[in-house]
């Protein structure tokens, strides 16, 4: 990996130091939001779905439009889980 911790600004490459600074701030900003946990509206939403009947009330038999037509914003497949999330 990179052992050169010296200032490297040529060709727009930032020093490791600057990258670390930015990374730390980004993580700190993220962590602060993550620490807020799951707002009620989302846990309730998922509970509701789970609680039987489903999102669209008691209507059944009629296939949901989303099931017959693929949603263009939802890709069929997420990236493979390579377990790289820390």
């Amino acid at each position: 990996m990179q052992t050169d911790v010296q200032v490297r600004k040529a060709r727009g490459r930032l020093s490791r130091h600057v990258q670390n600074k930015l990374g730390e701030t980004l993580h700190a900003m993220f962590d602060e939001i993550v620490k807020e946990g799951v707002p009620d509206r989302f846990s309730k939403l998922l509970e509701q779905i789970n609680g039987g009947g489903g999102l669209h009330g008691t209507r059944s038999g009629e296939p949901d439009a989303a099931e017959t037509r693929p949603d263009p914003l939802v890709r069929a497949k997420g990236p493979e889980d390579k377990g790289s999330r820390s």
Binding site: G12, V38, P39, P70, P79
Partner: protein, 183 residues
């Protein structure tokens, strides 16, 4: 439509980081929470297209990113919300400090083109690999790398961080790190 408990748990577990991504991407908590809600609804409506064993979090991030992009195209002519509505919305957290520094960072972030911003947030904050980020953004790995590099360079310019100094006075950075509550 019923959700398997495991699927529901996986979705729930992804919500905090999904929100962090949405808030940082849109710069607005209300809009971000609407994005998260819409993402969960779409995910549940399309749960059959989710392949078990693949990364639920990455799948949700993909949906949210696509929603944001399609919304962004519609709203392109509107001014980005960088007027402090985020800071405003956090008033219920009186204990937290370094608000000013985060705000400064967030304003700089909002000045990045969306493709650079999302690449940086995915790789630099959300913990995705370059490969995963490329899959989420539906582009080449090399494209993600160059977007992340450009984002970092631009941010360091906007925040006047140079190699020797931290931006702002020393205590600022320390405050940020403390507020980050790592671990």
């Amino acid at each position: 439509m019923t959700l398997q408990a495991s699927v529901r748990e996986a979705m729930l577990a992804a919500v905090p980081s999904l929100r962090a991504f949405a808030i940082s991407l849109s710069g607005n908590v209300d809009r971000a929470d609407d994005l998260v809600q819409e993402t969960l609804l779409r995910a549940m409506a399309n749960i059959t297209s989710f392949q078990p064993g693949t990364n639920m979090s990455a799948w949700l991030f993909t949906i949210l990113r696509n929603l944001f992009r399609s919304e962004y195209r519609k709203r392109r002519r509107e001014v980005e919300d960088v007027d402090g509505s985020y800071a405003e919305s956090l008033k219920s957290h009186p204990e937290q400090h370094s608000r000013v520094e985060f705000e400064e960072f967030r304003v700089a972030l909002a000045k990045l083109p969306p493709d650079q911003r999302e690449a940086l947030l995915l790789v630099g904050a959300s913990g995705f690999s370059y490969e995963e980020a490329a899959a989420i953004c539906d582009c080449a790995v090399g494209t993600i790398k160059s977007r992340v590099n450009r984002a970092r360079t631009r941010l360091s310019e906007l925040l006047s961080i140079d190699s020797a100094d931290e931006f702002g006075p020393d205590h600022t950075t320390r405050a940020i790190l403390t507020a980050g509550g790592r671990g």
